[in-house]
């Protein structure tokens, strides 16, 4: 059978995947708004979001919204703890040390959650019905619609946070010009601290959204985090709408690549895109405010 008959189906799954990558990428961008730190443990926050909600739902029998909210608060606390215990002591360290430290955090979170919550893959029940929606011959899970809607709402929320509040302005100031922010009395450490909390919350939210669609296990965070980072770079490092665009482009390309290559190679597609975009246009599609093209 010709795989092109599945084209609409690949399209819809690509859009769903894209929304997820966009959510993960938003977490990276939130931290980049406060400082030029890249948190390689971002994917683990997503994983924690799914896994903790699962155990709250099934272990403590909490109602769904309560479990989800508790999880988000918990993961935000984990984000704060990560900042205080690892990033703050290393705030003056070199890039390499920071990369290795956040990779260490990533190993710690994934292995610890494997110990605490078990290593089996987990799936949450969908928010509403499990009946697929039929639309122009494409069947789509209602959860995918939830993912798209939530991504949109989160984007508006993050836009308001960064463009309409003093806090967001202060964060952006401390990222673009650290010395100037210091002179204006903005506490840079506090800004990065808050950004870690927000990005952990965004990550946990993404994790809760995707666990009904894909199985989440203790080890699935790393790859998801890397792909989210690729999406952020692809769209334009440091821009909210860049992260959204990059996420959807990445999801669609990855999904549509199944038309021409075997499915096992799917994971490599994102990294090939990364190498191409870094070589030809490191600024990303929309252009990044942080990357000066002359220096690349």
């Amino acid at each position: 059978m010709d795989s092109w008959t599945y084209f609409p189906q690949f399209l819809s799954s690509g859009i769903t995947m894209g929304a997820i990558y966009a959510l993960v990428a938003l977490g990276f961008v939130t931290i980049s708004k406060a400082s030029q730190i890249i948190n390689f443990a971002q994917g683990e926050f997503v994983m924690l979001g799914g896994v903790v909600t699962f155990s709250l739902l099934n272990g403590l029998k909490l109602p769904y919204p309560v479990a989800a909210l508790t999880t988000i608060v918990f993961v935000v606390l984990v984000g704060f703890a990560t900042y205080l215990s690892v990033i703050y002591p290393l705030r003056k360290a070199s890039i390499l040390i920071l990369i290795m430290a956040t990779l260490g955090v990533s190993i710690f979170l994934s292995s610890t959650s494997g110990l605490v919550f078990g290593t089996l893959p987990k799936a949450l029940p969908p928010f509403t019905s499990e009946q697929p929606l039929q639309f122009l011959g494409i069947s789509m899970l209602p959860q995918s619609a939830w993912v798209l809607l939530s991504t949109f709402i989160l984007l508006i929320f993050l836009y308001l946070l960064s463009h309409r509040t003093l806090l967001g302005k202060a964060m952006e100031a401390s990222s673009t010009d650290p010395l100037g922010a210091d002179l204006l009395g903005i506490s840079r450490n506090l800004m990065v601290f808050l950004a870690f909390g927000v990005s952990a919350g965004v990550g946990a939210f993404a994790g809760i959204l995707i666990t009904p669609i894909f199985f989440t296990s203790y080890s699935s965070g790393t790859l998801l985090g890397l792909k989210g980072f690729i999406a952020a770079v692809l769209g334009g490092w440091g821009k909210n709408n860049g992260a959204i665009l990059g996420g959807f482009v990445l999801g669609l390309v990855e999904s549509l690549s199944l038309l021409i290559i075997p499915s096992g190679y799917k994971d490599a597609v994102a990294f090939v895109i990364l190498l191409l975009i870094l070589y030809f246009r490191p600024k990303g599609i929309l252009g990044s405010p942080f990357i000066d093209s002359r220096r690349w």
Partner: protein, 357 residues
Amino acid sequence: MVEKKKEFRKRDFFYLVPLWLLSLIAPDPYLYHKKEFRKKDLYYLVAICLAPLIWPDPHFHHLMVLAGIYAILSLGLGLFMGYAGQISLGHAAFFGIGAYTTAILTARYALPTFLAFWASALSAALIAYLIGRPILKLKGYFLALATLGFGEIFLVIVRESTDLTGGIIGIFGVPWFSVMGFSFDTYLKQYYLAWGVLTGLFLFSKNLVRSKVGRALLAVAASEDAASSVGIDVPKAKLDIFVLGSAFAGLAGSLFACVMSTANPEAFSLGFTTLIVMMVILGGMGTIYGPVAGAILLTWLMDILSRYQEFSLPIYSVILILLLIFFPDGIGTRLNVRVIYLIGYWAKKKKRDEGKL
């Protein structure tokens, strides 16, 4: 009358004893730039030769074989990261390329291992040359991400091209390393093989960093603009050292395949990359003694931790983060200086307290 203070604090012993012990083992890059050949080198060599004879425990031999192989790998990475100041999170892929080249050539086509050994270095260097030019244009986080992406692509290709690499299961039945009919079939022989190769490559790197090339690398690490303004071809210098480091990794991978008699993709994942980068950082960047010391240290640490089964990874990551926070320059760096400073501090303390100094 000035009240007489205590001569020394008891807690100073806690610093001094482990610091002094460590300073015996760990080399200090800041004191190592003056003399070309030191007695200490000879001591190290004698210690390496005698250690397996003094301690005839097969487990110790096997661990030290692994430590030697990782030391070759992190020596190459140390040249690239420590001297040229770049970041690579994809070095495990070159290790894997070396291991798979050897495994395929010997287990499938029954070539002699000695030939496969050199072919591994060549193939790793060739692939490094092909991807080096575009990747090394990047800096900082993006260089790290690009090399990491290369490593992941390598893993996916290895897992999926089942005909060539055997997929997830890998390739079994790689013969022992043998030269001219002499087979390295015991752990003791493999120990001398790995450490012999390491000694040769170490001497090569030691001469390299003292040569014009090595000085050029230091200049590139300090400032690329300044380096290019004094006539150093910066892209070429970076590419050369990247290819050289990858060739080292290929050699190490070839030895690894021969020693473990297998090659499978799990050995070259992101976790392994983290481990070898940690070896370079903990040994101390910008020194060639450091990666070797780091390799021995971390191989031992991993072996001790493997007793704790499922708790090993959390403990390992906590130790890793603590070491990064407290020793970001490497464990050995400035250790001698710190000890000398402490001794001097105590020696002068009495005089200072009496107001003579």
